[in-house]
């Protein structure tokens, strides 16, 4: 009804407005009548009537507003007006759009990645209903299940419409020369997820009964396209995965890559799992179950209902178990997206989010300053409009409309930039990671979607409010009286806001540059870091255990191979395994990192034995009860004593299932002391450098990883070795990795973060410099009259330059101080996120501060020189 009336008003609007005006005129006449009755002289009537009536135009306007869809109308007017003013100053508009667009683009790129991993659900049926489940025991979480558990869950858990299982193959596997990631899944996996096939068929429930004889495999669409050349008749072909023949039965639907953060290349039935994981599987399918169970919640079933049902089921399953294995609680993990969204994730991402957000902040404050300057330049126009009866809120709204109109194309630009940045970033990542890692990298599809677009729009809106609101409020502040008098240049109005914005920019800039500097120094330190072993000429071979002997024999024949060694845990690739021990002469049990190595290990990695001797061949073959300890271990176990000749008692009861290859004997005698080796990014005093080495040899222990020292360029030798081994022992080698690349891969995150931080810091610096330059230029043009007078009164150009520069530098120094303090404060936070980096690196701090200071001097010098060139006569004549 009301809307109808308003619409009617729009139709007959001219009449309505005439009537309203008429009404007010009559009102005025009545007022005049009364005044006349009171005996006011005729000549005074008009004026007095006006006085009583007030601003008639405004009353008219206000009354009209009641009827209108007023905001639409004024919005249209504002938009028309804004577009007209942009046409007049296209460079201004383009600069604003470009600056904001760039910063928005970077943030949107970050959000695209976040969106792809955390927010976008998998392309499966009802992704938000998918929950992985397990139960808690005393002090542990039980999430690995057996086939028996799966059967019972499918039958007993009616809160789920279906329960399926999967087990990721823990490493990549090589299949006919391709490195592939895969998983073994239960037969109902694809049907429960509603994922069909693009070619052939997917794994079906009946495949659960498949015997190991007929191994089948489903490829992902991406793998089929990228790794197998989208061969149209691939279904029915056989490929060899780790030497085992698998029949490809089909290709899964596009856009499906499993339910993890690494998109998978293939799936096999659970029955075929042991073919893929042989030797690699640390607990083995015969051991405790390793199936992950995922249930698809029935529609309408709440989480608490599901939990209650799970509790009953878990209690049933563990009723006969030992006390410590009994379920005392249940756990449900949402599995609808690659990475579940929670507080921990947000906290660990916060430095990144902050860095990107700060760049947007700088861009906004830069633009805010530009808007402020332009608004001040438009003071005359604003003053006139105020004196003609424009309401202040109306003017602010108009200025804000202008900001929003600038933000809208900036959002579009940002969206495009984000797409390009993500694409470029991924390319760059693949190009710069060590080759062995690049072959294994899988990235989920990062295409922006509606969420990214919405994010850009909202971010653009917020930016517009930020860079538009403050200048708008500031610019419409002048009192009517000043405007009437035509005095629009009252000093440094808006100065405090302007200075505040510059301080904020400098602060953020210093902060980002310090971070970049710290990361650079950190990665430089790590690159030159002595890990205690020489990886330069060493290759690690991932070999299947059943081919171990053949490979070792074959390697001995290769001319490029200098030494062959084997180790249970390889440095950098496998973490060392801690077992409980008691050193002689002490009563307390302690944990010590342990590995089993062949005598050649020390020469392959060039680990010097500081004292004592190496294992002999006989000791290695018989697995004698001797051990070599690292210096750190010797110091830790027997401080101020000679470790040589001491014994260590190996305690039973190592809980870690990965430690099952640890020596089984009771005591071992120390025969040598090796130099410390850091197998990773732990600090020097970390127990990681403490290690016990036990003897083995390559022929008897087939479950060890192989390392060889080669002659020549290791990567090329590695390729040659791969070829000749593939010929001699087909399917035996999964991968040959140069240890040099492994170390490079270890350092890669630091380099990547350094580049991101320096790009952001560089951008911040450019924005800050242009911001300072802009403000100083504006101030100089504002103060032209004053400077002219000073010069006329005898000020030298040096004193003019120094006065302007002093003004700029005062603000900069404040910003630098705040920035450095903030950096020191957040470095505490960073220190907890990034290991092995000295977050208080003095050089990084000084470098960043000096850089920003120099940049600020440079940015303010040009405007101040322009000020010094002001010709007093010309300026004064202009007035």
């Amino acid at each position: 009804m009301r809307i109808w009336k308003r619409v009617l008003y729009q139709v007959k609007r001219r009449r309505f407005e005439r009537e309203l005006a008429e009404e007010l005129r009559i009102h005025q006449e009545m007022v005049e009548d009364e005044l006349r009755r009171e005996g006011t002289p005729e000549i005074e009537l008009r004026r007095r009537a006006h006085l009583t009536m007030g601003n008639v135009t405004k009353s008219l306007e206000d009354s009209r507003v009641q009827w209108n869809f007023a905001w639409i109308e004024s919005l249209l007017l504002d938009i028309r007006y804004a577009l007209r003013s942009f046409r007049k100053t296209p460079i201004f508009a383009a600069t604003v759009i470009g600056t904001i667009g760039l910063a928005l683009g970077l943030n949107a790129a970050l959000f695209s990645i976040f969106n792809a991993y955390v927010l976008r659900p998998f392309a499966v049926r009802d992704p938000y209903g998918l929950y992985q489940f397990g139960w808690n025991t005393k002090g542990d979480v039980h999430a690995g299940f057996t086939a028996e558990d799966l059967k019972s869950a499918r039958g007993g858990l009616t809160v789920f419409s279906d329960v399926f299982a999967y087990q990721n193959v823990p490493y990549w596997v090589s299949a006919d020369g391709q490195d592939l990631w895969g998983a073994a899944v239960s037969g109902n996996y694809f049907t429960a997820l509603g994922v069909g096939s693009a070619l052939g068929r997917t794994i079906l429930p009946r495949d659960d009964e498949t015997s190991a004889g007929s191994a089948i495999l489903v490829l992902s669409y991406t793998a089929w396209k990228n790794k197998f050349g989208a061969a149209p008749h691939i279904a029915g072909k056989t490929i060899h995965v780790r030497g085992h023949p698998f029949e490809i039965i089909g290709v899964a639907r596009p856009a499906f890559g499993g339910l993890g953060d690494i998109p998978l290349d293939f799936w096999v039935p659970l029955a075929n799992y042991h073919d893929l994981a042989e030797g690699r599987d640390e607990s083995g399918p015969s051991n405790a179950g390793e199936y992950r169970l995922i249930g698809s919640l029935k529609p309408g079933v709440s989480l608490s209902q599901a939990k209650a049902a799970l509790r009953v089921w878990a209690a049933q399953r563990t009723a006969d178990a030992a006390e410590k294995d009994r379920a005392i609680g249940v756990a449900l993990w949402p599995r609808g997206t690659s990475i579940p969204f929670d507080m921990d994730l947000l906290v660990s991402l916060s430095p990144l989010i902050a860095a990107f957000g700060l760049v947007l902040l700088i861009a906004c404050s830069n633009v805010a300053n530009m808007m402020l300057a332009s608004a001040m330049a438009r003071q005359r126009e604003i003053g006139i409009r105020l004196s003609l009866g424009a309401g202040r809120s109306r003017l602010i709204r108009q200025l804000l409309t202008e900001s929003l109109l600038l933000a809208l194309p900036a959002a579009g630009l940002g969206f495009v930039i984000a797409q390009a940045a993500v694409h470029f970033g991924v390319q760059l990542m693949f190009a710069t990671t060590p080759p062995f890692l690049a072959r294994l990298l899988r990235v989920v599809p990062l295409e922006p979607d509606g969420r990214v677009f919405l994010f850009v729009l909202i971010a653009a809106g917020c930016s517009a409010l930020f860079f538009g609101l403050a200048p708008a409020i500031q610019a419409t502040r002048p009192g009517l009286m000043y405007a009437m008098r035509g005095d629009f240049s009252t000093g440094l109005r808006g100065g405090r806001l302007r200075n505040g914005l510059i301080v904020a920019q400098v602060t953020v800039c210093v902060l980002l540059l310090i971070c970049a500097g710290v990361l650079l120094r950190g990665s430089k330190q790590l690159q030159t870091r002595d890990f205690g072993l020489d990886t330069g000429q060493v290759l690690a071979l991932q070999v299947q255990h059943r081919f171990h002997k053949q490979v070792v024999e074959r390697l001995a024949l290769e001319p490029a191979v200098e030494t062959v060694a084997a180790a249970w845990r390889l440095p950098f690739l496998d973490g060392f395994c801690a077992i409980p021990v008691t050193p002689a002469g002490r009563t307390d049990r302690t944990a010590a990192a342990t590995t089993v190595v062949t005598p050649e290990y020390f020469s392959v990695f060039r680990i010097p034995l500081v004292r004592g001797r190496n294992f002999t061949a006989a000791e290695a073959t018989s697995q004698a009860h001797v051990t070599i300890v690292s210096e750190a271990t010797a110091r830790r176990f027997w401080p101020n004593q000679d470790a040589l000749g001491q014994t260590i008692r190996l305690e039973p009861g190592g809980e870690d299932p990965r430690c099952k290859q640890a020596p089984r004997y009771q005591t071992a005698r120390v025969i040598g002391i090796a130099r410390n080796v850091t197998s990773g990014l732990a600090p020097d005093d970390d127990p990681d450098t403490s290690c016990l080495y036990f003897p083995a040899d390559t022929s008897t222990s087939t479950e060890l990883g192989l390392v060889v020292r080669v002659k020549g360029e290791p990567e090329a030798v590695g390729r040659a070795l791969d070829n000749s081994l593939a010929e001699a022992v087909p399917g035996a080698v999964d991968a040959i990795i140069s240890m040099r690349e492994v170390v490079a891969a270890l350092l890669y995150p630091f380099r990547a973060f350094f580049w991101v931080a320096s790009c952001l810091g560089g951008l911040a610096l450019v924005l800050t410099v242009s911001g300072i330059y802009g403000v100083m230029s504006y101030l100089v043009s504002q103060r032209a009259k004053e400077i002219g007078i000073r010069m006329a009164l005898g000020a030298t150009s040096v004193s003019v330059i120094s006065s302007i520069m002093r003004q700029a530098l005062r603000v900069t120094v404040v910003g630098i101080a705040i920035g450095a303090l903030l950096a020191a404060a957040v470095s505490r936070l960073l220190a907890s996120v990034i290991v092995m980096v000295n977050t208080f690196d003095r050089l990084a701090y000084f470098g960043a501060v000096a850089l920003v200071l120099l940049a600020a001097i440079g940015a303010s010098f040009l405007p101040s020189r322009r000020a010094a060139q002001i010709d007093p006569v010309t300026t004064l004549r202009l007035e």
Binding site: R2, L20, I26, K58, S59, S63, Q66
Partner: protein
């Protein structure tokens, strides 16, 4: 509320409404045109009053506003809530 109350005594024009409120409140309440006319437009939209052109007491053309049934209902409601608030304020003020 004041406008509706004035109109409940009979149709009147804008000037008359302003005069009436001023006189009755003995100059304590003065409604300026700046708020009177916008308020009248609001009431028109809300169907609380309707308007037609007529001739005023001293033979001028004027727009007369007349209260409608909806308007009376609204007046009653507002009066009730006003009295409620007034009473509440009075109680607070009179509590020693």
């Amino acid at each position: 509320m004041l406008i509706l109350k004035t109109l409940s005594r009979g149709p009147n024009h804008g000037y008359g409404i302003a005069q009436h409120i001023r006189q009755v409140s003995e100059d304590a309440l003065k409604i300026g045109e700046g708020s009177l006319y916008p308020a009248l437009q609001r009431l028109l939209i809300d169907d609380c009053v309707n308007a037609e052109w007529g001739i005023s007491e001293n033979n001028r053309r004027a727009r007369f506003y007349r209260i409608t049934a909806t308007g009376r209902k609204k007046l009653a409601e507002e009066k009730k809530s006003f009295e409620f608030v007034l009473a509440a304020i009075a109680r607070v003020m009179e509590t020693p």
